[in-house]
Subunit: 610 residues, 2 copies
């Protein structure tokens, strides 16, 4: 029944031969791998405005210079990552680059930071998507947690159906969002210059009031949320059609260009139209801006719809990346090995389910509040940027390929810049939640090393390398014990199995009432006299203890290597009938399960009775 349900939910399994078909053309790859980065346009401007507006409304004029600084940072990081794509055409995530060039521990730190960021990508995107919906329909504000749960489940199921289908599903909304937002920006700009804007605010002040440096840096840190997710393309290079290198680099450049223009456009217009972040009512900046530019007509609902859609789908970037990274870590034996294996579908089902659970936990913990989640987000992102770019510098130093000096310059610039930003974020956002990440990353790295050590110890223990030279496999000396509660068809089946697998079979029966024993003994002599039967007394009237004691006695007497306990069990026609049977089997199994040299085998008798 479960497998049928699973089939309905996630479709038929895909054969390996379809793997080649999973490769994505550039336009699809852009949509699938960059929805996270694109979608940050929906909240990055707001994150800049909030700290400024809390200080003073006039301070909001600093938003444009801050946004320009972030766009510059984006350009530097993009150039740096394009070099990574060339150097690692098989997928150069921060984990791989840092591990290969800087060593195991930096690699694990990058891996931990990335795992956290994938989870936070889902959490932040879903929270912001819910905010887009509730901005348009304020009556839904109380149902935020329900909306968040529905969205996470929806996207999880879609991903379990496989990458190819994901790409198709996610491509259209990403483009719809991009074009709608360009449309909004163009219309907003045209109205401004045509002079018919209703905007009450003074159009673009040139006055920049004095603000504390710390405040400016905090606004910058918050806005750096715009950069999250841009590494997805360099991690997912293998998903591109060939020529992989060229296609991925081109896609990376396009993504950064679109992201930068949308982000700058929205920030500029938000300022021009005098939009203030609504920290009490929770209406998003995008929602306010669209209403100010285009009124509350169909276009308003189109923008809100697209924004909600891209935000919710942005979580998909993480659903593509997280299981891949978990699988890499698992193949290196830093995570449980089941995460390394492909499921029935060509995606890593285990990782997807784990990601959905963790993200949902965070979303509900932070009451579906984007603004509360963002500070946790940026530390990990810039930590992995820094490690990845530093790793690239070392890579070029070792390889010294064509244009290695130029490559070192750009990666070095990227590493230095992102490291400075990392320090700024860690300091300005420490008390806002960044401290959590600072604690969790070392804990995760410790966990990774513990898992590796366990697997290494197990491998050592199981290895045949130090075993003596192999001869023939030897048979075990072997005794079978069958505890019975009477003589019936189920017991006869179990006895036939027992005499098939050993010459030394013993049955035992716990006497709770001497009258029953006599009747049972007579039946036994009639049906199963070939097998010796031992009657066990039970002074404490327990059924289990005498059987376990008897097994231990036999063990000591025979000195055999193995004792198999065969238990006749019933499989009932209706599941709830199980409650009426099999208690004894369960208890014997529990009592013996951790003993060495004991095997417990159930011989099942299938009941038709209802």
């Amino acid at each position: 029944m479960f497998s049928r349900f699973k089939r309905i939910l996630i479709g038929r399994p895909l054969s390996s031969q379809y793997l080649a078909h999973e490769k994505l053309p550039k336009w699809k790859a852009l949509a699938v791998l960059s929805s996270d980065a694109m979608s940050s346009v929906a909240y990055a401007t707001e994150e800049i405005l909030i700290p400024l507006s809390i200080f003073a409304l006039a301070a909001m004029s600093w938003s444009m210079p801050v946004a320009l600084a972030i766009a510059t940072l984006l350009t530097i990081v993009t150039i740096s990552y394009r070099q990574t794509i060339s150097a690692y055409p098989s997928g150069g995530g921060a984990y791989i680059v840092a591990r290969e060039n800087l060593g195991t521990y930096p690699g694990l730190v990058a891996g931990a930071a990335l795992l956290i960021d994938y989870i936070l990508t889902v959490a932040v995107s879903i929270a912001a998507g819910v905010a887009a919906v509730t901005s348009a329909f304020p009556s839904l504000v109380e149902h935020k947690p329900v909306l968040a749960i529905v969205f996470v489940l929806l996207i999880t199921v879609t991903n379990l159906r496989g990458l190819q289908e994901s790409a198709t599903v996610f491509a259209y909304p990403t483009y719809l969002f991009i074009f709608t937002l360009y449309g909004l920006i163009a219309y907003g700009a045209w109205r401004l210059f045509a002079g018919d804007a209703i905007a009450a605010a003074p159009i673009i002040h040139e006055t920049y009031p004095e603000i504390p440096l710390f405040l400016g840096l905090r606004a910058f840190s918050s806005g750096c949320a715009a950069l999250t997710g841009i590494e997805a393309i360099s991690n997912g290079v293998t998903a591109f059609q060939s020529p992989v290198d060229k296609n991925a680099k081109a896609t990376m450049a396009w993504m950064s260009f679109i992201l930068a223009t949308l982000f700058l456009g929205v920030t500029l217009l938000a300022h021009a139209y005098g939009v203030k972040p609504d920290t009490l009512g929770g209406e998003t900046v995008i929602s306010q801006l669209t209403r100010a530019i285009a009124g509350e007509g169909k276009f308003y609902y189109l923008v809100q719809g697209c924004t909600a859609l891209i935000l919710i789908l942005a979580a998909n970037t993480a659903f593509t990346g997280f299981p891949m990274l978990a699988s890499l870590l698992a193949k290196d034996r830093f995570l449980p090995r089941q995460l390394a294996s492909l499921g029935d579908k060509l995606v890593f089902s285990n990782g997807i389910i784990g990601l959905a659970g963790a993200a949902l936990f965070l979303i509900l913990l932070f009451r579906v509040d984007t603004h509360a989640l963002v500070p946790l987000y940026a530390v990990g992102v810039f930590l992995s940027f820094t490690l990845s770019q530093t790793g690239m510098v070392v890579h070029h130093l070792k390889e010294r390929g064509d244009g290695w000096l130029r490559a070192i310059f750009f990666n070095g610039l990227g590493a230095t810049t992102t490291f400075v930003v990392l320090c700024v974020i860690a300091i300005t956002k420490f008390t806002h939640g960044a401290w959590v990440v600072v604690i969790v990353i070392p804990l995760m790295v410790y966990g990774f090393t513990r898992v590796l050590n366990h697997y290494l110890a197990v491998g050592e223990e199981l290895s045949l390398a130090k075993a003596s030279a192999p001869g023939r496999l030897e048979k075990l000396r072997h005794t079978v014990i069958i505890p019975i509660s009477g003589v019936h068809r189920g017991v006869i089946d179990a006895l036939r199995y027992a005499i098939s697998i050993s010459e030394d079979v013993r049955a035992c029966y716990v006497e709770l009432d001497p009258v029953s024993t006599e009747r049972m003994q007579a039946e036994w002599n009639r049906w199963a006299h070939e097998v010796p039967l031992v009657i066990l007394k039970s002074p404490y009237r327990s059924v289990i203890t005498p059987i376990v004691d008897y097994i231990n006695d036999v063990d000591q007497v025979t000195h055999n290597e193995m004792i198999t306990v065969i238990i006749p069990e019933f499989v009932t026609a209706k599941w709830y009938h199980r409650l009426l049977h099999n208690q004894t089997a369960f208890l014997i199994r529990a009592a013996l399960s951790f003993r060495k040299g004991k095997v417990v085998t159930s011989i099942r008798y299938h009941l038709k009775a209802t």
Copy 2:
């Protein structure tokens, strides 16, 4: 680890030879078997006063006549039950008496009614006990559910430790309660007659205002809660020292006498001191009465403490009776047979745990409110009284022993009276919750018959009676399949076991990566070349499906009666390391568990690695 925890919690197991020591002297039996009946003094008066006081405060003067009617009823039922003790010295619960004399269905109705009442005894007693505590300490009112949970757990654990210890634990508080309450009544009466009572109310009106008959009957019905639990002694006759008959009858008489005098005394004084039920604040009548008589000194806290204690311990009556009744029903195959067996201790652990769970559910469902639970209580009690007494009338008609006419008179009087009371309760309390019981009892009887029918059908199916004449037990034709993931010590152990139990052993390996397959094949040839190895392709990259398909193929080719799948599994040194292993074994077991002719056996390799 679990068994160690169990041992600490419930003590060492008792041997059968201690059974004789479990017999109770009269003074202990009185305490253990009558704490339920006695404790109803704590709430019965209040239950009478509530409906009267809601109608009119003056109507409360009817409480004494109503209490006298209930005391008369108590006397009739006591005489009737003393005859049951004589007729059924091995324990004559309503189930036994009704089933033997009236037939299976009346017996099952009585059984269902009693099971419900045992559960409600625990629920009502704990709720009233919590009310006694919160009357003395009003600040605890918000923590009622926590108090209730703690009390239920406490009493459950105490009962799991065995009957003997229960008797000792429960004897002293019962007597303390009896003597304290007699002290309170005596002091209250003395202060009244000495004339220094502060009581503002007119001392004992002789005016009885006109009230509707229905109201009087409802007050009477509510007060009948005083009779709950008095059948416990006749059910538990076997717990008495010999001469069983005489001791039990004497104890029964003493119990009724003490109960009647305490109940009448409290009702009389509550009226004389003008105590009104506090339906809003929740202070109990006993608490108000004690404060009025003795002030809020040490004696007040002693009375509240004793009352709370006896109420909480009253639940013990049910903890003695419920598992015994469940075991009787289970022996007659109306309940799952595991309920019939004794646990490691001389009590029926399964029944005790079931009772505690059900009672806790009701307590929390009704928000720890005695008054809400009492209406559910009385229907079942008087239903079982009626069936039991009617059964006794039929018994005497059949036996015609010494004094059978006199016996029929008293049992007939008992049956008629309790039947009338049953009708009164069912009518006056129907809308207050009695309807639930009226629905649940037939459902339970239906359930009992379904369980019986299942066991009868299984017995028929398993029976060898119609089988052909027995010859020698024949061996099975038998194939062993071992799925492996590599060659290591665990696999070698499993292979040795496999060749020990069958001549036809086949190993299989799922190929996920051709390079690993080659290495594996080389290892196999070195260590296990005697066993044929089949490499299974996995186009869908699932590990489980190819193995299950292969097993089915072998099944069809060999036409053997049985296929054993041997799975090498690991037992890890630390429980949480299980997360790092054994996924495949679990999935294969799940896929095959309901197939006929397939046995799945795990050969466990005990890892030392940490």
